[in-house]
C-alpha cells in the first residue's frame, strides 16, 4: 500500500486527534501518516457503507469518496446511520457527507450522487487507494471487483443478510477475487433483504478494520479468508478461500 499514498507529516493537531490510536502496536505515527494520505472509495453509504465511512473518518483517512445514488426514503432509516429524518426526499449522499464533515472536519469528503456503473467505474477506482464495497446488487459488486482487479487496487467486500454478514479482503494477484468465489450473478439474490441496522454496523466495522490494517501497513489482514459472523449466535469464523486459476477476472494475474 505504498504506491499512491503521498508522503505525509503528522501535524500537532493530528497527534492530538488521533493520539489514542497512535499507541496501537503496528499503527503508530507511520501508519497514521499513511491513513492521513489515503483516499478510500465507499460504494453506497447505507446500512453497511454508512457506519463504515464513519469509522474511516474517525480513523483519519485523508479523503473519502462517497458513491451513492438516489434520495433518502423512510425505510432507509432503520440502518443508514449517517442519514437524518429531516433529509427524507433529499440525496442520500449529501446527508452522509454532512454528517461526516461535522464529525471530522479535518478530512476531505467528496460525493458522487450516482451508483457505481460502467461509465464511472474506471475513473472512480483510479482516484482511490482502496475501495469498500457495500452495494446491494451483485452486478455492481462484480463491476467494482473487475475494475479493482484491472487497476490492482485492494477491495474490501462487505455483505450482510438477516443477522449474518461477511467480509472478504481482496488484494488482486494475491487473493481470491469476488469472481473466483462467485463466477456468475447469483440467481436467487433479491434487492430487498432482511436487515437490522446494528448487524450492518458490526459487519461494516469489520470491513473498516481490515481496510485500516491494509492502508496502514499493519499485520493481520485476513488475506484469502472470508470473515463470517453470525450475530444471532455470536459465531465468528474465518473461512479459508482460494484463488480460481481459471477465474475470468483475475486468473491471469
Amino acid at each position: 500500500m505504498e504506491s499512491q499514498q503521498a508522503a505525509y507529516e503528522l501535524s500537532d493537531r493530528d497527534r492530538e486527534i488521533y493520539g489514542w490510536q497512535l499507541d496501537v502496536p503496528g499503527l503508530g505515527e507511520r501508519g497514521q501518516a499513511k491513513l492521513r494520505s489515503s483516499t478510500a472509495l465507499i460504494s453506497r453509504v447505507g446500512g453497511l457503507g454508512g457506519p463504515l465511512a464513519l469509522s474511516l473518518a474517525a480513523a483519519g483517512i485523508g479523503k473519502l469518496i462517497l458513491v451513492h445514488g438516489g434520495e433518502l426514503r423512510p425505510d432507509d432509516l432503520n440502518r443508514q446511520i449517517l442519514m437524518r429524518h429531516d433529509y427524507l426526499g433529499k440525496k442520500r449522499v449529501d446527508a452522509a457527507a454532512e454528517t461526516l464533515r461535522q464529525f471530522n472536519p479535518h478530512i476531505e469528503v467528496e460525493t458522487v450522487a450516482e451508483n457505481f456503473n460502467e461509465d464511472n467505474a474506471a475513473d472512480l477506482v483510479a482516484r482511490a487507494d482502496i475501495v469498500f464495497d457495500a452495494a446491494p446488487l451483485f452486478e455492481e459488486r462484480f463491476l467494482m471487483n473487475r475494475e479493482c482487479v484491472a487497476q490492482r487496487k485492494p477491495l474490501i467486500d462487505c455483505a450482510m443478510f438477516n443477522m449474518e454478514g461477511q467480509v472478504i479482503p481482496i488484494v488482486p494477484g494475491e487473493t481470491a477475487c469476488l469472481a473466483c468465489l462467485y463466477p456468475e450473478v447469483p440467481e436467487h439474490w433479491k434487492r430487498r433483504f432482511p436487515v437490522v441496522g446494528a448487524v450492518s454496523a458490526v459487519i461494516a466495522n469489520i470491513g473498516a478494520i481490515e481496510g485500516i490494517k491494509l492502508l496502514a501497513g499493519m499485520s493481520g489482514v485476513s488475506l484469502n479468508r472470508l470473515i463470517y459472523f453470525d450475530t444471532l449466535v455470536m459465531k465468528l469464523q474465518k473461512v479459508e478461500i482460494a484463488r480460481n486459476p481459471d477465474c475470468e477476472i483475475c486468473g491471469e494475474l
Binding site: 452495494a135 443478510f161 438477516n162 469464523q237
Partner: protein
C-alpha cells in the same frame, strides 16, 4: 458417520436452522448428502443448491472443516470431514 451441516444466508432462512447433524454413509459424496437433505427441506432449499441440470450451483460456497472446496463440488469426498458449511451468496448493504 455423523456430519454437521452449517447453513448460512438464504439457506438458513429456508431450512429454519443454522446447523443440523446428519448421518452419512460410507463413500457418499456431497451430492448424495445434499439430495438426501432436499427430501427433508423441500423445493426452495433445492432451488438454492441446484442449477437447472441438477448440478451444484457455481455460486454456492462449499466449506469443508473451514476450507473452501474447490474443483468439482458435487463429487467431493466427505471422508474424514466433520463440518460442511454451505454459504449462499449475500450482498446486502
Amino acid at each position: 458417520m455423523t456430519l454437521t451441516m452449517d447453513y448460512t444466508g438464504q439457506l438458513a432462512s429456508v431450512t429454519g436452522v443454522a446447523e443440523e447433524q446428519v448421518e452419512v454413509g460410507e463413500g457418499e459424496c456431497l451430492l448424495d448428502v445434499l439430495k438426501a437433505r432436499l427430501a427433508v427441506h423441500g423445493e426452495k432449499f433445492g432451488e438454492l443448491l441446484f442449477d437447472d441440470e441438477g448440478g451444484i450451483r457455481s455460486t454456492l460456497l462449499v466449506v469443508l472443516d473451514g476450507e473452501q472446496a474447490t474443483g468439482d463440488k458435487a463429487s467431493v469426498s466427505l471422508s474424514g470431514v466433520k463440518v460442511v458449511m454451505l454459504m449462499t451468496p449475500i450482498a446486502g448493504g
